[in-house]
């Protein structure tokens, strides 16, 4: 590898070889300029930490893909199965479905995405950036399990080129690339991205036949005012149908805590997004309680859904922990993060309830707030400047009659 790298040094293909080299070995270059900061948490380390936080989710999702498949078949045969973690969840049969359905998604997402990254690095003559490592892992986790692989490939090309490279590559993008990919899939191929079939493996192929099985998510059933048969613990631990990796709130919570303690993700965004969604959920609950809508209303199912349960079904938790906290597309200022996160939660739940066609409003809410993040930051910074200017003026105008007061002012202006 070293030899290859040396051989191609300065040539057009150099970035490609350098990328493989730095991925496998410590770079053999040192910085040349004057001052530089030495820190362990470089881009590669940051990305790897996020991927580590995603591994449990991925493993769980592989088992869950199989479990949901067999559970749906049992349910269709009239023998609803009860969950027993070791007997019918953690089995090879389930894991096998995960391997043949989930692993190809991961491979395609990484393969196609990295090819695009390499092509752009070679054309532009910069180094291949690590930015896709996380995106490539997020993408397979936020699509339905039966997504055709070529669709995923098309969407990844679109997302990486339009969502990221046109803005100048990693760190320059306005929109979260993984969510751009998800949004592209949603609008391009709605039949594969929504509805009551796609969430469980096999439900699409079997549709209409004698062995048809249901693939409805909880939010989907609620949007049709149907009964939900899953218990709260099922929802929390993730034994429910949904996009590949979004179901297990517990593992997402663990991943989120891991990210917070390693200081990769912002706890402010996560906390405020949770608050935002709870507030919106509470408002809707109140509307139901006041009797402003009747049971025949098409919003009844989702509006009467207890407010805290919004956090444990659907992609809200996953979106808050892994998507909203993206340091590139989110707000940068601390106060901005509170506002940004709050509106993500608030709007997510609002979209869920008011537009039954998009029960997964989370990705739309996050994309929308991505767009507004720089604006929020701008006003936060402006407000800060204004406040300090005011403080500065006061400090000058006030008479300095006593020592104590002068000292006080000094402290304030520093």
């Amino acid at each position: 590898m070293h030899e290859l790298k040396m051989k191609y040094q300065g040539k057009k293909m150099a970035p490609a070889f350098n990328a493989f080299h730095t991925f496998l070995f410590t770079p053999n270059e040192t910085t040349h300029g004057g001052t530089h900061v030495k820190a362990a948490d470089d881009l590669k380390r940051t990305m790897n930490t996020v991927i580590m936080a995603l591994i449990p989710v991925l493993l769980f999702s592989m088992f869950n893909a199989g479990y949901q498949h067999y559970a749906a078949i049992d349910a269709a045969n009239g023998t609803p199965r009860s969950l027993s973690f070791f007997e019918n969840f953690l089995t090879w049969d389930n894991f096998w479905i995960g391997i043949i359905k989930v692993l190809p998604l991961v491979v395609v997402s990484y393969g196609v995405g990295l090819i695009v990254e390499f092509i752009f690095a070679v054309i532009k003559g910069h180094e291949v950036e690590e930015g896709y490592l996380v995106t490539g892992m997020l993408v397979p986790l936020i699509v339905p399990v039966d997504t055709p692989l070529w669709m995923l490939a098309v969407a990844v090309v679109f997302g990486v080129v339009i969502g990221k490279e046109v803005f100048g590559g990693t760190g320059m993008n306005i929109l979260n690339p993984a969510l751009t990919i998800r949004a592209f899939l949603f609008f391009a191929y709605p039949t594969w991205m929504s509805g009551d079939k796609v969430w469980v493996h096999g439900a699409v192929e079997r549709a209409g036949g004698p062995d048809a099985i249901s693939g409805e998510t909880i939010l989907g059933s609620l949007a049709q005012n149907a009964e939900v048969s899953y218990s709260v613990s099922d929802m929390f631990f993730g034994f429910i149908p949904g996009s590949v990796g979004e179901t297990s709130t517990l593992l997402i919570l663990i991943g989120g805590l891991f990210l917070i303690f390693s200081k990769i993700a912002s706890w402010r965004i996560m906390l405020s997004a949770v608050i935002g969604s709870l507030v919106m959920g509470l408002i809707f609950n109140q509307v139901v309680e006041m009797g402003w809508i009747t049971e025949t209303s098409k919003f009844y199912g989702l509006m009467s859904f207890e407010f805290w349960k919004h956090l444990i079904v659907g992609g809200l938790a996953f979106g808050i922990v892994y998507m909203a906290t993206d340091p590139v597309t989110g707000s940068q200022t601390n106060r901005g993060k509170w506002i940004y996160g709050f509106f993500i939660g608030f709007i997510s739940v609002m979209i869920r309830v008011f537009n039954p066609a998009y029960p997964e409003g989370v990705f739309l809410a996050i994309l929308l707030m991505n767009v507004f993040a720089p604006t929020i930051d701008h006003y936060v910074v402006q407000a800060n400047v204004k406040r300090r200017m005011k403080r500065f003026k006061n400090a000058v105008v006030l008479p300095k009659d006593t020592d104590g007061k002068a000292e006080e002012l000094k402290v304030e202006t520093v």
């Binding site: 055709p148 609008f187 191929y189």
Partner: protein, 215 residues
């Protein structure tokens, strides 16, 4: 070029590429987004704009010495409005379904910035023949982008071109559809046109870096 002098030929050639009304001057975007979901509508729209702009430029150019400059915008509006109504009526008479698809956008040719822009910038200061060529050139430049965008959007979004199924039948699962291909619903909605236009702008500017704006 015996027919046109070099200067005149440039009036037609420039707007086609290096001074394209859509990709360089970024005018007339709204109609480019709205009606390009089908190739047929794009072509008809291009022809309609060509008629309005070609004739309108000549009319304005002929009147350029007698229009008081204070009311020139009103005069221009009247000329465009007259021509647009003619186009609209012709479409309604001879191609009713098409005029349904184009709906309000034929009427909105009036507000197409390209037309008023050319009246102001060119026809008011140039002779009849040159104004005519300029009108044709700019509407061709507009039309060519419309057709390119329409081509990709119809091909990828509906799998047809001019309404003919070129990729097979999505319901019978023939042609490309037999191997699992599906139409891209995203291309049908207007934001896709914005992205396609953006890609054209990107390609054009990376081929000719002189076009990249300073910022």
């Amino acid at each position: 070029m015996a027919l046109l002098s070099k200067k005149d030929a440039n009036l037609i050639k420039d707007p086609l590429a290096d001074n394209n009304p859509i990709t360089i001057q970024v005018l007339g975007i709204c109609s480019a987004l709205a009606i390009t979901a089908e190739l047929k509508a794009s072509v008809v729209m291009a022809i309609a704009v060509m008629f309005v702009l070609g004739v309108g430029n000549v009319v304005i150019s002929a009147m350029r010495n007698i229009i008081p400059s204070k009311i020139r915008i009103i005069v221009q509006l009247i000329v465009v409005a007259t021509l647009v109504i003619v186009v609209d009526q012709v479409l309604k008479a001879f191609a009713y379904p098409l005029s349904k698809t184009l709906s309000v956008f034929v009427g909105l040719i009036i507000t197409n910035c390209i037309i008023m822009g050319r009246f102001e910038a060119f026809a008011l200061g140039n002779g009849l023949w040159r104004s005519f060529l300029d009108g044709i050139g700019n509407s061709l430049g507009y039309g060519i982008i419309l057709v390119i965008v329409g081509f990709f959007r119809e091909l990828l979004g509906s799998g047809t071109l001019f309404g003919f199924p070129v990729l097979g039948d999505p319901i019978e699962k023939t042609g490309l559809y037999s191997i699992g291909y599906e139409n891209n619903g995203f291309m049908i909605i207007p934001p896709a046109a914005l992205i396609v236009v953006g890609i054209i702008i990107w390609v054009q500017r990376s081929r000719n870096p002189a076009l990249v704006e300073e910022n």
